[in-house]
Point group: C2
Chain length 364, copies 2
């Protein structure tokens, strides 16, 4: 096991402002702060718990939007304040990962860093940890290593990773990253095999990442070095503000992963799910005999296969009653209510668009 020898850090990516779970999620309360899986705990807390056996709290960093800091810290009270990196602006994943890794590299250039999104569900935790061990071994030897999710359907919504030559039984060289394919291509990938979904989970040595950053994104490299120097003088906040005001919005995939020469992939059959919609949340949720995923307090009369979420904060005695309705999502917050058939739950984006058009951004 790598973790016994190595100095392992984790970076949890907790930005995002998805509208796919409106009104449960908001700009100021994104998906990772919600309990969308079968667990009653939030996705970010589940993510943290998954990593906490790997390292200690002082070695777990959480990168999130500045406006989300309070809500995010509330979910992870075990972590010291210093664990939280508040991005002044959303600039995609490259700037915040670079900021986090520069800080880790200053403390220990040999550190192994695990980067994971905060808003995904992983069913098979044991298998996840086996895959992570393979990835840590691979990264210890040098190459940046990505977990590649074994596809279960011809999904056109994700980028893919094509595996090349085998390094050992668990690990392959990456032949190439490919953009979201069309349906025919996605079906071909599935038939052919050797293609994996890119779920944004990476493992690398801090020093390796920093030299790849210097090569492929020199401006960002200089930017985070400046932040590091400023931090040593107690002026990190101003430097971060300046960096995020000027740096480009670039994903880590596009900025580094697709350009680096030596990168490995560990196929991961871990029951991964990106929880992309209420439909998926319903599929994963624990349900009653009638197929309803609903709070215990709900009154359900001849109602079947509904997803009911009650996010109201007061009063404690509140109730949601469904009579004679099926296959609905009923999502309730203090200031908003959504009723939509499960199979149309993607259309919630249209509601958010209408709210923006009618100058009701407080509700988005």
């Amino acid at each position: 096991v790598v973790s016994a020898q190595a100095n392992i850090y984790a970076v949890i990516l907790a930005g995002g402002s998805g509208t796919r779970f409106w009104p449960a999620s908001r700009v100021a309360f994104p998906k990772q702060l919600l309990a969308l899986g079968p667990s009653p705990e939030s996705l970010i807390r589940e993510t943290y718990k998954r990593l906490s056996s790997l390292t200690t709290g002082d070695k777990i960093l959480v990168a999130t939007g500045k406006h989300l800091l309070a809500g995010t810290q509330r979910e992870l009270p075990e972590l010291p304040d210093a664990s939280f990196l508040g991005e002044p602006r959303a600039r995609n994943t490259a700037p915040c990962i670079a900021w986090a890794v520069e800080r880790i590299a200053r403390r220990d250039p040999d550190a192994l860093v695990v980067v994971v999104p905060s808003d995904q569900f992983i069913e098979n935790e044991e298998r996840f940890h086996e895959c992570l061990q393979s990835a840590l071994r691979s990264a210890e030897a040098g190459p940046i290593t990505v977990l590649g999710i074994l596809p279960t359907r011809p999904e056109t919504g994700y980028g893919y990773i094509q595996a090349g030559a085998a390094i050992d039984s668990d690990t392959y060289k990456v032949r190439r990253f490919v953009e979201k394919p069309n349906r025919a291509t996605a079906e071909q990938y599935l038939r052919e095999g050797g293609y994996y979904w890119n779920a944004g989970m990476f493992v690398f040595r801090a020093s390796v990442f920093m030299s790849e950053l210097a090569r492929h994104m020199p401006k960002l490299f200089e930017g985070v070095r400046a932040v590091g120097l400023a931090a040593a003088q107690g002026r990190e906040a101003e430097a971060v503000e300046e960096l995020f005001a000027t740096t480009e919005s670039v994903s880590i995939d596009y900025g580094i992963m697709e350009r680096t020469e030596s990168i490995n992939v560990v196929p991961a059959d871990v029951g991964w799910n990106d929880l992309g919609s209420f439909q998926v949340a319903w599929e994963l949720a624990s349900k009653d005999e009638a197929g309803n995923a609903a709070p215990e307090s709900a009154v359900l009369i001849e109602a079947g296969n509904n997803l009911v979420m009650d996010k109201r904060t007061t009063p404690d005695t509140r109730v949601i009653a469904l009579v004679g309705v099926s296959d609905l999502c009923v999502i309730q917050t203090d200031d908003a209510l959504l009723v939509v058939p499960r199979e149309r739950c993607q259309d919630v984006r249209d509601v958010v668009a209408v709210l923006k058009d009618t100058a009701r951004t407080a509700l988005t």
Copy 2:
């Protein structure tokens, strides 16, 4: 016009604890306090406004449950405190009407009293006032007079009044009151004609009512006389408490109207509606082109023929969004939400039953 000569009083009956509009209505917030018709004002306020051209505020009495006094007074701020009669217990209509009329008779035995429920909708106000004038003329001559609603369907949910001999073009003697009929009988009434729905609207001289009360309900007569005497000594509250603790629960129909010898009926084609369900409320409501009756703030996307009620008190920016759903009732309050197909809205009673069974009476 009678009102120019006579001393007209009105008694608005505002008891009731219906569960048919849960969660919008509650035990502590019954139907008449809701705006269920096309008007944005509550049914009781619409009732009051309908009568206010007939008499002055000091001659309008409102009989309601003691626990409903505050909410009822809030709807009718124009009326003096003395206008409100708070029943310590629900005892059906005879005791509260007797209490109110005794008070009126003490002030003016010759007063003409109009008794109306507070929770009905009347579309044609002009015609209503014409009918009321006929009833006032009839009552001025002696007989208790009831407004008989012209039936529009073979309704089995109401009692009927059969008209007898004509007194003039507007007024008939009552042949008999009949209980709620079965379907076949209701259809026969409709075919035959001369049958009217009993909507609980009566007009009579105070003195006539008091002597009929003395004859048919002597105990109640003694009871309200005792209340009247106590009131003269400033001890009305205790006397009322005692009366309602001991008096029987009897309707005015059963107690007096069905027993009195001289009683007239004025057929009333006034667009009357008892607003018995969310379905009826939807039918009467003003709707958008897609048939939705909803607050203006609602976001409705490919949604049709829905009834949306938002009774939340905070925050002001709240929203209800319906996407891709049809023919639903979506009723929202601060502590409860109901989703039910319009055609099953009667089943809301089952929800209230479940709440009682699970010791959540605060929600009923």
